[in-house]
C-alpha cells in the first residue's frame, strides 16, 4: 500500500481526513475521485491485507489453537492489529466503578481500522429509524429522512458489493434493482430455523453482508456510481476487476487477501490512491484540530509514533473520521482561548449521547442437527440469514414494554473446529471418555446454535464521555472518561430477546441454555458490541446538536465529522453501511461548498 513518510507531506491540502476506516475511507474515496487533494492520517500502522491475511491457516497452526488472549481478543487469526478493548499505553477510564455502568471502548490501530475484521453486516436504516422521536416521543429525530440518504445507500451498496435480498418488510428497505448481489444459499440450521419459526411469526430471511457472492459488474456499475466522471469510472472499473468473488471458505474476520469482502484497505483506498490525489501518513496520532484567529480550522497537529515528533499539517477543510469517541476526544483536546471547552462545542454536547447496540445471546442444542451427513457449511465466512425486527405493530401499540426493536443474528453449522470443538457435550452425555467420547463428538458436532440479539438503544443523559482530568496516554494526550447507563427500555428489550431465543430453539425441537428473565444479567456491557455512535450528534438546531445534516460542525464551517459520531439514534441495523452512505453524502456537500468558495 503506497503511503508517505510524515516528513513528505505537502504544504497544504484541500482536505485532511483523520481516520481510514468506513467513514474516513469513504470520505477520502469520494473527495479524491472528484479531484480534491487529500491527506489521510491514520493512528495505526500501515496494513496490507493482500500480504498479511491468514487465508487458509488452521487453528492448530496458531499459538493456543487460535484461542482469544488479551493480545488478540477475537482470536489469533483475527485481522486486528494493536487493538481490542484495551490498547497498550492508550488507556481510557470509566466514571463509575459499578460493573453495570462500564463502557468498553474498542479500537484498532491499523490502516483501515476495524473494517478489516468487522462482520460485514450491511443493513439500511428504514424510514422510522430517521424519525424515532416523531414515532414514539423518545430520543431525537434526524434532520434528514430515509429518502435523503437512499441514493447514497444505493451507491454504497454498488461500490462495496453487498449480498442480500428484497423482502418488502416493514421498515426494512428494499434496494433498487442492480444494487444487491445474490444471497448465498442457506445452511442446514438456517433452513430449519426458517421453517420452524414460521409458526411463531418470526421471519428468517437472507441477511445483507458486504461480500461479493459473485464478481461485481465492472462494465456497468462505475457509470452508475460516477455518472459524469469518466476518469473515476475508469479507475473504479479497474479496482472492481481486481476483486475476486468469494470462494466460500475462511472467516471474514481474518480480512480477505482476494478482496472478496469490503474492507477500506481493499475497496476504498486502492482507487482513491489510483487517482493520485491521496497521500496517506500512518502512525500519525492526531492530538488536536488547529484553528486561526477567526475560528476556522487550519489543519491538525499529530504525533508521529515512530519519531515521537509533534507535527502540524494544513488544509482548507478538516474531516474527523477517527471513530465516534476518538473524534470527540480530538475535539475536546482542541482547546484554545477562543474555545475553552473544546472545538465545535458551543452547544456543550460534544461527547454527549453516546450509544452502543443492545446485545444479548443464548445458545441451544438442536437434536435434529445431530449426526448430519458430512458436508461443507463454510459459506460466505459469516451469516447468511437473520431475523429482522418483526413486532413493529405490537410495539407501536405499546404492548411490549420497551420502545425500540432488535434483529437476531444466529450462527449454526459445521464450522472449523477450534478450542470449543466439544464444549457443551458433557451437559448432554453426562461426561465420558475414550471411543464413546469420540463417537459423541461426531454425533453432536454442528448441532449447537447460538442466537444474538442486536437492538436499538435510546440516547440518554447518563451515557456520555468527557476528558479525564488527570489521565494521559503514552503520547501525553488526555484520555476519555466514559459514563454509561442502560435504561429500562434496553434491559426489557434484552429480556424479550432471551424469551424469543428460547421460543425459537424450542420450535426447532432443541434445548435452550439458561435464559435471563430480567435482561439485566443478559445485556452486554456498553461498547461490547462495538457499534458505538453519537457524541457529535447531528440536528436541525445548533443549540441541540453538534453538526448539521451534512456532518458539518455548526461552529466551524470547514470542520466535518464523518464517522458514527453524527448518529442521533442508533437503530438496530448495524451502523457501518449508514456511516458510509452518510460520509458520501457529506463529502458531496463538502465538494460543492468548496467549489462555491464557501469553505
Amino acid at each position: 500500500m503506497p503511503h508517505i513518510a510524515s516528513s513528505k507531506t505537502q504544504p497544504i491540502y484541500d482536505v485532511i481526513v483523520v481516520g481510514s476506516g468506513a467513514g474516513g475511507g469513504q470520505t477520502a474515496y469520494t473527495l479524491t475521485m472528484e479531484g480534491a487533494k487529500v491527506l489521510m492520517l491514520e493512528a495505526g500502522r500501515n496494513y496490507d491485507p493482500v500480504k498479511e491475511t491468514p487465508m487458509f491457516q488452521t487453528s492448530n497452526q496458531a499459538p493456543l489453537r487460535g484461542a482469544s488472549t488479551p493480545d488478540k481478543p477475537f482470536g489469533f487469526h483475527d485481522s486486528t492489529v494493536d487493538g481490542g478493548w484495551q490498547v497498550p499505553g492508550e488507556p481510557y477510564t470509566n466514571g463509575s466503578s459499578d460493573p453495570a455502568r462500564q463502557f468498553w471502548w474498542w479500537r484498532a490501530r491499523m490502516l483501515g481500522g476495524r473494517t478489516n475484521h468487522w462482520g460485514r453486516i450491511s443493513l439500511r436504516n428504514g424510514p422510522y429509524d430517521f424519525k424515532p422521536h416523531t414515532r414514539d416521543g423518545l430520543g431525537f429525530d434526524w434532520p434528514i429522512s430515509y429518502e435523503d440518504l437512499a441514493p447514497y445507500y444505493d451507491k454504497t451498496e454498488m461500490l462495496v458489493g453487498v449480498y442480500g435480498s428484497n423482502e418488502g418488510l416493514e421498515n426494512t428497505p428494499d434496494s433498487p434493482a442492480g444494487c444487491l448481489l445474490p444471497p448465498p444459499k442457506m445452511r442446514a440450521g438456517e433452513l430449519l430455523a426458517q421453517k420452524r419459526t414460521k409458526q411463531l411469526g418470526i421471519p428468517v430471511v437472507p441477511i445483507h453482508r458486504a461480500v461479493l457472492s459473485v464478481k461485481q459488474d465492472a462494465d456497468s456499475l462505475p457509470a452508475k456510481i460516477h455518472p459524469k466522471n469518466v476518469r473515476a469510472q475508469r479507475i473504479l472499473a479497474q479496482a472492481m476487476r481486481e476483486r475476486a468473488a468469494c470462494f466460500w471458505a475462511t472467516d471474514c474476520g481474518r480480512g480477505c487477501a482476494t478482496k472478496a469482502n469490503y474492507q477500506s484497505t481493499t475497496v476504498h483506498l486502492p482507487p482513491a490512491l489510483a487517482t493520485g490525489n491521496l497521500d496517506i501518513v500512518t502512525d500519525a496520532m492526531v492530538r488536536a484540530v488547529t484553528v486561526d484567529e477567526r475560528g476556522k480550522a487550519t489543519g491538525v497537529s499529530y504525533i508521529d509514533r515512530k519519531t515521537k515528533e509533534e507535527r502540524t499539517v494544513k488544509a482548507r477543510v478538516v474531516v474527523l473520521a477517527a471513530s465516534s469517541a476518538e473524534s470527540v476526544r480530538i475535539l475536546l483536546n482542541s482547546k484554545s482561548a477562543r474555545f475553552p471547552n473544546g472545538l465545535a462545542n458551543s452547544s456543550g454536547l460534544v461527547g454527549k449521547y453516546i450509544m452502543d447496540t443492545v446485545g444479548a445471546r443464548l445458545g441451544g442444542q438442536i437434536p435434529a442437527l445431530e449426526n448430519m451427513p458430512v458436508h461443507n457449511e463454510d459459506g460466505a465466512g459469516g451469516n447468511h440469514v437473520y431475523v429482522p425486527w418483526w413486532l413493529y405493530k405490537e410495539q407501536h401499540a405499546g404492548k411490549l414494554g420497551f420502545a425500540r426493536g432488535y434483529h437476531i443474528e444466529f450462527g449454526s453449522g459445521r464450522r472449523m473446529p477450534g478450542m470449543g470443538a466439544t464444549g457443551g457435550i458433557e451437559g448432554i452425555t453426562g461426561g465420558n471418555y475414550g471411543k464413546q467420547f469420540k463417537a459423541d463428538a461426531r454425533r453432536y458436532y454442528g448441532s449447537f446454535m447460538g442466537f444474538a440479539g442486536r437492538g436499538e438503544m435510546i440516547p440518554n443523559e447518563d451515557s456520555f464521555c468527557e476528558l479525564d482530568p488527570t489521565v494521559k496516554d503514552k503520547w501525553g494526550i488526555p484520555v476519555l472518561r466514559f459514563h454509561w447507563k442502560w435504561s429500562d427500555h434496553e434491559t426489557r428489550q434484552a429480556a424479550h430477546m432471551q424469551k424469543t431465543f428460547v421460543e425459537i430453539i424450542e420450535s426447532m425441537g432443541g434445548k435452550a441454555g439458561a435464559p435471563d428473565a430480567t435482561g439485566a444479567a443478559a445485556i452486554e456491557p456498553g461498547g461490547k458490541i462495538i457499534h458505538e455512535v453519537g457524541g457529535t450528534i447531528m440536528g436541525a438546531d445548533p443549540k441541540k446538536s453538534v453538526t448539521n445534516q451534512w456532518c458539518q460542525t455548526w461552529d466551524v464551517k470547514n470542520l466535518f465529522v464523518t464517522d458514527g459520531g453524527a448518529f442521533c439514534s442508533n437503530a438496530d441495523k448495524n451502523p457501518t453501511l449508514t456511516i458510509m452512505a452518510l460520509a458520501w453524502r457529506s463529502s458531496d456537500y463538502l465538494l460543492e461548498e468548496m467549489r462555491k468558495g464557501n469553505l
Binding site: 500480504k51 491468514p54 487458509f56 488452521t58 487453528s59 492448530n60 497452526q61 499459538p63 493456543l64 482469544s68 488472549t69 488479551p70 493480545d71 488478540k72 481478543p73 477475537f74 494493536d82 481490542g84 468487522w118 462482520g119 445452511r187 433452513l191 430449519l192 421453517k195 470462494f247 471458505a249 475462511t250 472467516d251 474476520g253 445458545g363 442437527l369 458436508h375 461443507n376 457449511e377 463454510d378 459459506g379 459469516g382 451469516n383 443474528e409 459445521r414 464450522r415 472449523m416 473446529p417 478450542m419 470449543g420 470443538a421 466439544t422 464444549g423 457443551g424 461426561g431 465420558n432 471418555y433 475414550g434 471411543k435 469420540k438 463428538a441 461426531r442 458436532y445 446454535m449 447460538g450
Partner: protein
C-alpha cells in the same frame, strides 16, 4: 462482532470456553502479557508449541498427560490417538502460556496429574502411564462425569473436564481431528451449494 465475525464466539454453545476467558481478561483489567506474542504478531506464519514461549511441564507431567490424552482420545478406525497428533505439546503450550487464566489452568492440570499418579499408585502400585487399559479406565470411570462423581472425586472430575476440553480442542483442530469429526471446509470452491440432498433428507426438508 459480529464481529462480526464478532459472532464467531457464539457459533456454538461450545464457544463458552472462550467467552469465559474473555470475561477473565476483563476482570484482570486487560493487562497485556509482556512475554506473549504481542498485539501485532505475524499471522501468516505457521506456529508450533514452544515457538513463542517455553514449554514448562516436567517429563513426569508430560508422561501422565500423554497417557491421559490417549485415554480420552484413543485410536479407533477413524483417527489416531491424541498423542500421535501433538496434543501433549499443545497442552504444555496452553498451561505454559503467559496470559491471564492460563496460570489457573496450569495449577488445575499440574495438581490433577499429580493426583492421577498418586491415585494410580494407591490403587495399582504404578504411575498412571504404566497402568493397563482396564486399570486406567477404572480411574477414569470415577472422574469422567462431574455430575456423577462421588464427593471425594469432585475435584478430580473438575480437572478431568478441563483436561478433556483441552485434549479435544487440541485434537479436533488438527487435520486428522477435522477429518474425524466431519469438517470438510477450508477449501476454495466456485459455488456454495448449501446442504447436500442427504443432509436435507436428514432434516426432513428434502
Amino acid at each position: 462482532m459480529d464481529r462480526r465475525s464478532a459472532i464467531k464466539w457464539m457459533l456454538s454453545a461450545a464457544a463458552s470456553v472462550a467467552i469465559m476467558d474473555r470475561a477473565a481478561i476483563a476482570a484482570e483489567g486487560g493487562a497485556t502479557a509482556s512475554v506473549g506474542y504481542g498485539t501485532d504478531p505475524d499471522l501468516v506464519k505457521i506456529y508450533k508449541p514452544g515457538d513463542v514461549w517455553a514449554l514448562t511441564l516436567t517429563d513426569g507431567q508430560r508422561r501422565a498427560a500423554t497417557a491421559l490424552c490417549d485415554a480420552i482420545i484413543p485410536a479407533d478406525d477413524k483417527s489416531p490417538a491424541a498423542s500421535k497428533v501433538g496434543v501433549p505439546d499443545f497442552i504444555d503450550e496452553w498451561v505454559s502460556a503467559p496470559y491471564p487464566g492460563h496460570s489457573g489452568d496450569k495449577r488445575t492440570v499440574v495438581e490433577g496429574l499429580a493426583w492421577l499418579d498418586a491415585e494410580a499408585q494407591k490403587r495399582f502400585g504404578n504411575d498412571f502411564a504404566d497402568l493397563v487399559l482396564r486399570q486406567k479406565n477404572a480411574i477414569c470411570d470415577d472422574i469422567c462425569s462431574f455430575a456423577k462423581a462421588k464427593p471425594e472425586f469432585k475435584k478430580a472430575a473438575q480437572f478431568f473436564r478441563k483436561f478433556r476440553d483441552l485434549t479435544a480442542g487440541g485434537f479436533y483442530s488438527t487435520p486428522e481431528g477435522m477429518k474425524d469429526i466431519g469438517y470438510v471446509g477450508n477449501v476454495p470452491t466456485v459455488n456454495f451449494d448449501g446442504p447436500t440432498p442427504e443432509a436435507l433428507k436428514h432434516l426432513g426438508l428434502a
